[in-house]
Symmetry: C2
Subunit: 662 residues, 2 copies
């Protein structure tokens, strides 16, 4: 096999696809112009000799990974200017392509520091700091999480106490558990940050507020007085990022350094509260919509790698004495991979919907209408939790489906996993978020009980429905949606009743809540699952593609709906809504869908259109030359640069000759 | 809080435990003498200043990890000799304590190279090589897996062709996909290996056989002619080990280098086949029993870390405005952690049973009785797959339950995970193993249909049973076992019938098998699950402990049984064996068990008796001083040894001043 040729199994897979891959790619990427632009930008990175000459990340030490990320940041900045890339999506494409599955230590300056200033700063504050931050003359980070405090913001301990004599705030870390911990870029890179701290003025605490703080000298990067910072040490992933800690010992900042667009502290220390505290939810929702998008993309990448490899890899035998089959021909391999592929598609459409919903509701918020905010907040929180759980677990399944080679960094999968799984924790711990969704659902349920009508997507709650599914052997979309609605509605009602019964038995509300929280979690989960199923069905019903592509998308969507019921069967059967014969239909349907999707599996991952350099995978290469790539990866290992490793002389030889002395 | 004091929350947890932790530890470790001995050995490592002065593994480069592992190997060898440690369990304890969650690059000399010689070598061969290997005058590895071939041994491509003229075998790697890949220690450490290759003599292939091969010169460690080897490159974990690749180009070895205890090639090239090829199954079963043990231990370690941390960590609020509760008080946290704790206990007892069964049946095999071998083989394969899946997924749940800090290597959990999860792949890929179990179960089912009686643990297959569960609100052990038996028996029968119907419809047997393999997998999984439940119940029924401990173990066991049904509800409900009201009982029971187990959670993990140095975790420390430990870990980071990192001068300052030039 010469380099550059396509593995013959993979070539055959592409020939036998029943639809036009390009048509589906166009659909997934929002039209031919957007797809073309995406490819143009990715090609800038792919063909740039600068990126090609860098050592593979997995052969770099932590300090090399960090240094390379800085170098890449500088190069990327130059290229972005040179090519005049300004659109937000284009920038995301360029950065995602240049920094696959890792975090540039200066990225947080753009993603959190600047938005905080833009949204929380007064006009004067913005004029003072934003130009410097845009040009990276100052480099900022966002210091919120503390070593002892995460998702629960009210628990933060860092204090900012106003001193009217000097018109300054005094920042302090009052205890070990108040140490800021985890902020990206904080260890060695940032010289500024916005700090989230409890505001004290006139002897009273007014809760958390945001303060601008210079950390390091702009002359020589030395730490300013009262400031202790450093990296938090090595982690599961993100070796490129110097996540840091910060201790503050009576650090004084001018009054003007409190970001005062909403709340204010006057010179004499008088506190003015904000008009509408909810208005800052917008950023949080936006960040969560990025996380949902990321969960969808990362799962799609893992599916691409694992499915292409499963078409190339031949192993064992089906027919005794026959040739080794492609492992994708084993039903058990299809059972693990095809539902994940359908999930990646479902999450793609969920993410698209969420972005559109965010944009629509944001405009209403800008216009002063806040009534849809709770709905948007619940959608963002729920989808963030639902997709990150499923995506990260799914990526590991894809990795394990690649057998031993999945464990090598050559597969690219470990890095995808460690970049995905923190999404379950950051920007709101998933369980906490699911319980926030549950709180919203309980409110909806109560309102429905009181005769109020519920907005769009939650309107099914408390509606009277069929007691038994009418599902037939064809397992129609209508019956699928009804089943998911029934399950979610039932679990919501059960959670509400369970809470009620604890309260009637004398429990205080918060105890009843905690005692029902497993049930509440399951209800919220079922609600999010329903959203993904119904939205998938709606999305492909409305989309404009040729009939062949449409047929294939229908199969993928059916599998998502069918498999989701089979995986959670008890919740659909507990009240006999589904019965044994429905389950027979569903199981048969699933196996039929495996057979229908099998010939299109490779084409369906090709349609995601990930360039090889973004996957960073020997197993997921478009050309399928996996063994040559694994061998080449091995040859590059630093330890292979000498035939005899230095430890032979220092340790092995003495050990073998029996005279090792340590 | 001074160093050395116990976190007050953790101290209270220990005070409120309802049983004597030491009694349970004694039970888990096989009696007071064994527990004492275990502690003595672990203490040798803990108190040895040599181990304490090593840099934490996560701050080492790959080459430092490798070198440190060699140094530790040499030191450990000296200490083991000095302290006269000879018993196999004692050696495992010492090594496990000195090398937590990592692989010494010479360990494979003991675990695979020497056993291969012992079992496959003739007396002359053993006399020639074993003394050298025991003394580590030669260092060997075991080269089986190829880059294109894993679990399916018949697919291996490496050839050993006998040349009667020179009385030598000629070893070759006939293609890229035949490259040996993954063997531990092969890259830089080993100078010998046993190679698994297809034997050709007199123009005929006789399948795979084992050959002794010298890789490197004993003078200077240089590679011998025709041999190419090196490391395979960096991986998800096991940085200490130089897993390697090997290519052979017409390497000649003497005829005597074929391990000829069973098969033989005579001087003229005549092949003599072995008398009983099954006899070599023993080692495989033994290795799998170690993997089951390891899966149990690693999950128990992860539970220890996550449960201790959940007792120390305070976050959010239950009562509005109240103090932040220990996160272990949230029902959702209990829902994630307590079933895993019960699983760790279940796997402990499953592993103990398997070791005992192995020893009992091995003696029969030594005595020439092979009739119980299929049963033992199915047990080993099934438990290996069942426990490694559940343990590795569970470890990740424990990690995510620690929030953000779980992602830091300071938590110890990422390293535990990456040491556990390859267990799903090596020594038989889990899906393949589960299908081997299914094959055994299908054979049992057929035999029962033919009126034969089945041996012990599979005797439930094909028996007539109740159509509906008699389970009441108390959820008795009897009803639990019946439910698991019913589910397994039903799934086995369904798989058999499904296959039969495909065959009747004209499918060849191998097609019917593949088309039924999801169902077969589920049947095998249910069978293994039943084993773990029933064995747990039997083990605690028979064990001798005081009544308080016994009561707590009963609760843990009930939770394992109850939660397992709730997680797999559909499989118990599909034929109405369990109905909605049973599910109500089970769900109530589960919540009740959470409340009963909550006060004992910390004591239950303390009873596993893991010393701190083995957990390598800031979060799982016995004293609960987690924040101080995280801070200390951060301070140690190499990047924190200077206030201003060198990249400031080379990259950051030029970037900020706008004159960066790459």
């Amino acid at each position: 096999m010469s380099q550059g040729s396509i593995n013959s199994d993979l070539a055959k897979e592409r020939q036998k696809a029943t639809f036009n891959v390009e048509n589906l790619s166009v659909l997934l990427h929002g039209g031919p112009a957007k797809l073309k632009r995406k490819r143009y930008i990715e090609n800038l990175v792919c063909e740039d000799p600068f990126y090609r000459q860098l050592k593979p990340w997995s052969y770099c030490s932590i300090e090399e990974q960090y240094e390379n990320a800085l170098i890449k940041h500088i190069h990327a900045k130059e290229q972005i200017e040179k090519h005049g890339i300004k659109d937000r999506n284009d920038l995301i494409t360029y950065k995602g392509s240049a920094f696959p599955h890792e975090a540039d230590p200066i990225a947080i300056n753009t993603s959190m520091f600047i938005p905080s200033l833009e949204q929380q700063g007064t006009e004067e504050q913005k004029a003072k700091w934003l130009p410097l931050a845009y040009q990276e003359k100052i480099i900022g980070t966002y210091a919120q999480t503390e070593i002892g405090h995460g998702t629960f913001l009210r628990g933060l301990e860092t204090t900012a106490t106003y001193d009217p004599k000097t018109k300054e705030f005094v920042l302090n870390t009052p205890s070990l558990s108040a140490t800021k911990f985890w902020p990206a870029g904080l260890g060695k890179t940032a010289n500024h940050c916005v700090v989230v701290a409890q505001l004290y003025t006139q002897g009273k605490c007014h809760g958390i507020h945001i303060f601008m703080l210079q950390l390091r000298s702009l002359e020589d990067h030395s730490l300013l007085p009262g400031i202790e910072t450093g990296v938090i040490g090595n982690k599961f992933g993100f070796g490129t990022n110097d996540n840091g800690y910060l201790k503050l010992n009576s650090v004084r900042i001018p009054r003007d350094n409190m970001l005062m667009r909403y709340s204010k502290v006057l010179e004499d220390g008088t506190y003015i509260r904000p008009e509408n505290p909810k208005v800052t939810y917008g950023v949080m929702v936006l960040v969560r919509s990025f996380i949902v998008r990321n969960a969808a993309v990362l799962l799609a990448e893992a599916c691409t790698i694992s499915i292409r490899y499963s078409a190339v890899r031949r192993q064992s035998e089906l027919k005794p004495g026959g040739i080794e089959p492609q492992i994708l021909d084993y039903q058990t391999q299809q059972y693990r991979l095809l539902p994940l592929l359908s999930t990646a598609y479902a999450f793609h459409f969920a993410s698209t919907n969420m972005t559109e919903t965010y944009e629509r509701i944001s405009q209403q918020i800008e216009g002063g209408r806040l009534d849809q905010l709770p709905q948007l907040h619940a959608l963002a929180a729920g989808l963030k939790a639902f997709t990150t759980y499923a995506s990260s677990a799914g990526i590991e399944v894809c990795r394990i489906c690649c057998g031993g080679h999945g464990y090598s960094h050559a597969s690219g999968l470990p890095k995808i996993y460690v970049s995905a799984v923190p999404g379950c924790t950051y920007e709101g711990e998933n369980t906490v978020l699911m319980l926030q969704v549950a709180r919203y659902l309980m409110k909806c349920y109560r309102e429905k009980q009181q005769g109020k009508s519920l907005p769009g997507f939650v309107s099914y709650i408390g509606e009277s429905m069929e007691k038994k599914s009418l599902m037939g052997a064809d397992v129609s979309f209508t019956c699928l949606i009804k089943a998911y609605k029934h399950r979610a509605a039932r679990l919501i009602e059960e959670a509400a009743k369970q809470m009620q019964s604890f309260i009637q038995a004398g429990s205080p509300a918060h105890v009843a809540w905690n005692k029902s929280s497993v049930q509440l979690f399951l209800a919220a989960n079922a609600h999010c699952h329903l959203f993904c199923v119904e939205n998938f069905i709606d999305s492909i019903r409305d989309c404009k593609v040729d009939s062949n592509t449409s047929k294939v998308l229908n199969e993928v969507c059916q599998l998502y709906g069918v498999h989701g019921i089979i995986e959670n069967l008890g919740e659909f059967m507990q009240d006999n809504f589904l019965t044994g014969h429905h389950v027979d239909y569903l199981q048969k349907k699933m196996l039929t869908l495996f057979e229908l999707m099998r010939p299109n599996a490779v084409a369906l991952v090709d349609a995601f259109d990930f360039p090889d350099h973004k996957l960073e995978s020997c197993l997921g290469r478009y050309d399928g030359q996996v063994y040559q790539a694994l061998y080449d990866y091995a040859k590059m290992a630093p330890m292979n640069q000498t035939e005899v490793h230095s430890t032979y002389y220092t340790h092995l030889r003495p050990l073998m000759s029996g005279d090792s002395k340590l």
